[in-house]
């Protein structure tokens, strides 16, 4: 199965793979200039949501149940949410693609939202956003669960640069970071 192996040079591909290296790793100093980051934090926030969300749990539950029953059709009988239909092909590959497009999809929607609110004049260009969109279009119809959508729309509002350092502190810390300091009170005042 040596076809499975492919060496890749960093310049030609793999931005997604190195993205969190660029955003999370590397040297840090007490910088005296606060740089506005636009549409960056959302990349890392959203990756965490994908990992530790109700949506993910439901996917696991569905996958394990399907495993035990030995067939995809019985999943329907159990009346599980439609959102999990995208995973019924099974296999690590299709699952992987599902998760990736999940990230890409909400990244691009978050970027759009952000640019509308904060910097409408900014041109998008190709690059990361373009790739994110490609990833979405390339795969699945992309319906997502209500739980995940709620979290995303919360996350879309959390693109202030002030909290970036804290939020980028550690990619493995699960869903904790997205709760912190990313709700502009003036806009979310009605929220309990």
């Amino acid at each position: 199965m040596s076809q499975a192996y492919q060496a890749r040079t960093p310049r030609s591909s793999g931005l997604y793979e190195v993205l969190d290296l660029i955003l999370d790793k590397g040297l840090v100093i007490d910088a005296y200039v606060r740089v506005s980051l636009v549409g960056i934090e959302i990349l890392t926030i959203d990756a965490r949501i994908v990992i530790a969300s109700v949506d993910t749990y439901l996917r696991f539950a569905e996958a394990v149940n399907r495993l035990e029953l030995g067939g995809g059709e019985s999943a329907e009988k159990r009346g599980l949410p439609e959102v999990m239909g995208e995973l019924q092909e099974g296999g690590a590959r299709s699952k992987t693609r599902g998760a990736l497009s999940g990230v890409g999809e909400s990244v691009s929607s978050a970027l759009r939202g952000d640019q509308g609110e904060q910097s409408g004049e900014r041109s998008e260009g190709p690059g990361l956003l373009g790739r994110a969109k490609e990833a979405v279009q390339e795969s699945l119809g992309g319906e997502r669960g209500e739980e995940a959508s709620d979290e995303q729309s919360d996350a879309e509002e959390g693109v202030q640069s002030e909290t970036s350092r804290e939020q980028r502190g550690g990619p493995q810390t699960g869903s904790r970071a997205p709760q912190e300091g990313r709700r502009p009170p003036e806009r979310r005042g009605g929220r309990s």
Binding site: V18, L19, I22, Y32
Partner: protein
């Protein structure tokens, strides 16, 4: 105007000419000499600059172009200071440790091993190895309620987390002395294990062979090797 910094190199680093940095003006990337024989790779940055995905790409390009010439400790994306004076003040106490780290990383590169696993194999292991999960499977099969489904999924997710750590340790072990350093990386996807390895540039063929062997041994694993990369995961000094 501010100064955007990309990384730290030795002063004698032959940084490429004509390298342009972040910003609409495409400013020249230049070296700012500091103490300890080190220099900061930097470019001018307008005070009101906004950094987005495009700039992530530029940041990466600059670091990799410099890395093609000499060892570099990359800065995290988005690091900027007001001017050279502030830069000197901010980095002064860190320079001895950075200098040491640069020497340690001389001739080394980071590679990333990304392994994707067959879902059925991993989940079967999880179910078989955990009685609580088996019980939840039985419960949810009879009565698929949202609460118990979430509970099951959460239990499975926890098991997958443990499995992932164990598997990362196993993968690192396969490389033995080839890996001068290693770091587990956030997977972002459930049935994926990522490890960053610090290896000698000259040992890259051996690293590739090890990855190939892994892929041949177990057809339920799809392995990818990414790199050579600048030592992003091994730059920071504790």
């Amino acid at each position: 105007m501010g100064l955007y910094v990309y990384g730290v190199v030795q002063q004698d680093c032959p940084a490429p000419d004509g390298l342009t940095g972040i910003g609409p003006e495409e400013p020249d990337v230049h070296l700012v000499p500091v103490a300890e024989g080190l220099a900061m790779v930097a470019s001018e940055l307008p005070a009101d600059a906004e950094l987005g995905p495009e700039e992530v790409i530029t940041h990466r390009r600059v670091i990799e172009e410099v890395f093609a010439r000499c060892t570099i400790l990359p800065f995290r994306f988005g690091t900027a200071v007001a001017d050279e004076e502030d830069l000197l003040a901010a980095v002064a106490y860190l320079l001895p440790a950075w200098s040491e780290r640069l020497q340690l990383l001389e001739g080394k590169v980071e590679v990333e091993v990304i392994a994707d696993y067959d879902e059925e194999t991993v989940l079967s292991g999880v179910v078989a190895g955990n009685p609580a999960v088996r019980e939840l499977v039985a419960t949810t099969r009879d009565r698929p309620e949202m609460g118990s489904l979430v509970q099951l999924g959460e239990a499975v997710a926890e098991e997958i987390d443990s499995w992932r750590s164990a598997e990362a340790t196993r993968l690192v072990g396969l490389f033995g002395p080839l890996a001068a350093g290693h770091a587990e990386r956030a997977a972002r996807q459930d049935l994926r294990v990522r490890v960053a390895l610090l290896v000698d540039r000259q040992a890259l063929p051996d690293v590739e062979s090890t990855v190939e062997e892994l892929a041949e041994q177990d057809e339920r694993i799809t392995v990818e090797l990414i790199g050579p990369l600048p030592p992003y995961s091994f730059a920071a000094v504790e």
